[in-house]
Amino acid sequence: MVLQCEDITKTFHEGKVATSVLRGASMHVDQGEVVALEGPSGSGKTTLLQILGCILSPTSGHVEIEEKDVSRLNARSLAMVRKRSLGFVFQQFNLFPALTVLENVEYALNLKGMVGKAAKAEAKALVAAVELTERGNFLPRDLSGGQKQRVAIARAMAAKPAAILADEPTANLDSQVGGQVLGLFRQLARQENRGLLIVTHDPKVRGIADRVVQIKDGVIQA
């Protein structure tokens, strides 16, 4: 298993008000598996994604990334885990506007420790894999939404992470482009044998998922 969590709770405190967002959530993602995490707004799916993505720490419970317990790591160590083992795709793409397509991918590789010619060559290969070779020197502002999301996928694949976590990757795309992006996701996850967790409202995601996990009111549904 590349991602696993067990009996996760997460409570946010705002002043004297405590809000329980996750209440004993458990799930896992295997290598090469595509898992869709579905649930209504406020169900806790993005919070669970952030905990599995080592961005948030759980209030209680265990999280394992590549079978290593990361539940009690500090912020710096969690950053190292993200750098080493995880890739992210965001709803808003979150590309660096001052960097070209190739540079966006190369920068992620740089952060993960790959520099110089090797990073440039790898960035080119990743951009080619998402079929954007001809747009390699374009800035994000000159790309369509679908193209931006493909760059984000290429960036998430940088340095071959064990798992990729995607937060509503098709929310800002029209239906046709969203379908193409999901197809690409599926293909790359299989080809590269990566675990893929997609948090979504989009029913199309079911079509590419090996498994669908439902969450409601912070509890994973059977």
Partner: protein, 375 residues
């Protein structure tokens, strides 16, 4: 390695231009103000440095070369008898009134000696023979006097202390801190122009030592024989004259204040711009953190941006300050910017910009990478 800091900085060219302009303005302010101050200070001891005297004898507690007190001119005879003294002469310094052709009058500084050549005064002659000063009611006037006196040429007459004197030569680069035009005339002539003040008096005694003589020994002996005068080496007297302006007037404080204000302006402009830029790019920094970057990676980005802004701003500021130099020279002002000083300002600029970037560090340290999941 992709230079995210530099690319982001240059991405918004208007903001980058504003940052650079702020730094450049601060650098120009510091370089020009301190350069002008250095130029004025250079004038304050210029005569002392150019004159070939080894020792200067002044009346007791004379503050600087521009404000001498008079003492008996016969004291020079006692100096000449001190072992190790090869030559000693009286030097008169006085302010005289010059009537201008337009009816106005101005002050001028006069250095008067019997033998100018012996003391390398004046040190740069534009035209004329300095020996001519002994031959009549003549004077040499520095070309810088045009700023105050209007145009003149060698051969013209000027009324000085109600006496018509002929300009028989011109000098260059003879300037004083007080900005009064400098002239040179014969010792006896100057005494005759102001007999009630200068009759039988001198302002300084210039001393040249015999070769191989120990300066300290001769100086101590002169001081022993002249308890009511002060004896300075050339360097000491130059320093005392310079320090007077720096310490005893507000000019030094003014220069330091300008440097401080220049730094403050730069700090505020760069700090504000970088902080605004950080806030505008906060989601990008969140992305950096989300994909595995640490605070250190983001500090490096901010430091890189600050350093580039500093380098470009400093280059522009230096170019502007150097551009001011010839303009200042046209009005007989000197902008002196020694290379070590320029390097110091350069290093200070980088430090200033890094300090400004640190204002953003705290904000960046608290960025929650989870913000990238919010729409």
């Amino acid at each position: 390695m992709v230079d995210l800091g530099l690319k982001t900085l240059l991405h918004d060219k208007t903001k980058f231009a504003i940052t650079v302009a702020g730094v450049a303005f601060a650098v120009t302010l510091v370089l020009a103000q301190v350069g002008l101050f250095n130029g004025l200070l250079d004038n304050s001891d210029l005569t002392i440095r150019k004159c070939s005297a080894d020792l200067w004898i002044t009346s007791h507690n004379t503050a600087n070369v521009d404000f001498p007190q008079r003492f008996s001119e016969t004291i020079v005879d006692r100096v000449r008898t001190v072992p190790g003294v090869s030559q000693a002469d009286n030097l008169l310094f006085s302010y005289v009134n010059v009537a201008l052709p337009n009816g106005a009058s101005e002050n001028a500084v006069v250095y008067a000696l019997k033998d100018f050549k012996a003391w390398n005064l004046p040190w740069e002659i534009k035209d004329g023979q300095i020996e001519d000063l002994r031959r009549g009611r003549f004077l040499f006037l520095d070309e810088g006097a045009r700023r105050r006196f209007g145009d003149f040429k060698t051969g013209d007459f000027r009324e000085i202390q109600e006496t018509r004197l002929r300009i028989v030569g011109q000098t260059r680069q003879a300037q004083s801190f007080t900005t009064n035009p400098i002239s040179f005339m014969d010792y006896d002539l100057l005494q005759s122009l102001q007999p009630e003040f200068l009759g039988g008096k001198t302002s300084y005694i210039l001393v040249r030592l015999a070769s191989g003589t120990d300066v300290g020994t001769v100086r101590a002996e002169i001081q022993r024989r002249l308890p009511y005068q002060d004896v300075f080496t050339r360097d000491e007297w130059a320093k005392k004259s310079r320090d007077y302006w720096v310490v005893n007037t507000g000019i030094g404080m003014n220069a330091y204040l300008t440097v401080f204000l220049g730094c403050l302006v730069g700090l505020v402009v760069v700090g504000q711009t970088l902080y605004t830029s950080t806030m505008e790019h906060i989601k990008e920094f969140g992305t950096v953190k989300a994909i595995g970057g640490t605070n250190r990676d983001i500090y490096a980005i901010l430091a890189r941006q600050a350093t580039v802004a500093a380098a470009v701003g400093f280059a522009c500021g230096l170019a502007m300050a150097l551009g001011l130099k010839p303009l200042a020279e046209r009005i007989y002002l000197k902008l002196i910017m020694p290379v070590p000083f320029i390097l110091l300002v350069g290093a200070g600029t980088v430090l200033m910009c890094l300090a400004a970037a640190m204002l953003s560090f705290r904000k960046v340290a608290n960025i929650d990478p989870g913000l990238v999941f919010r729409s």
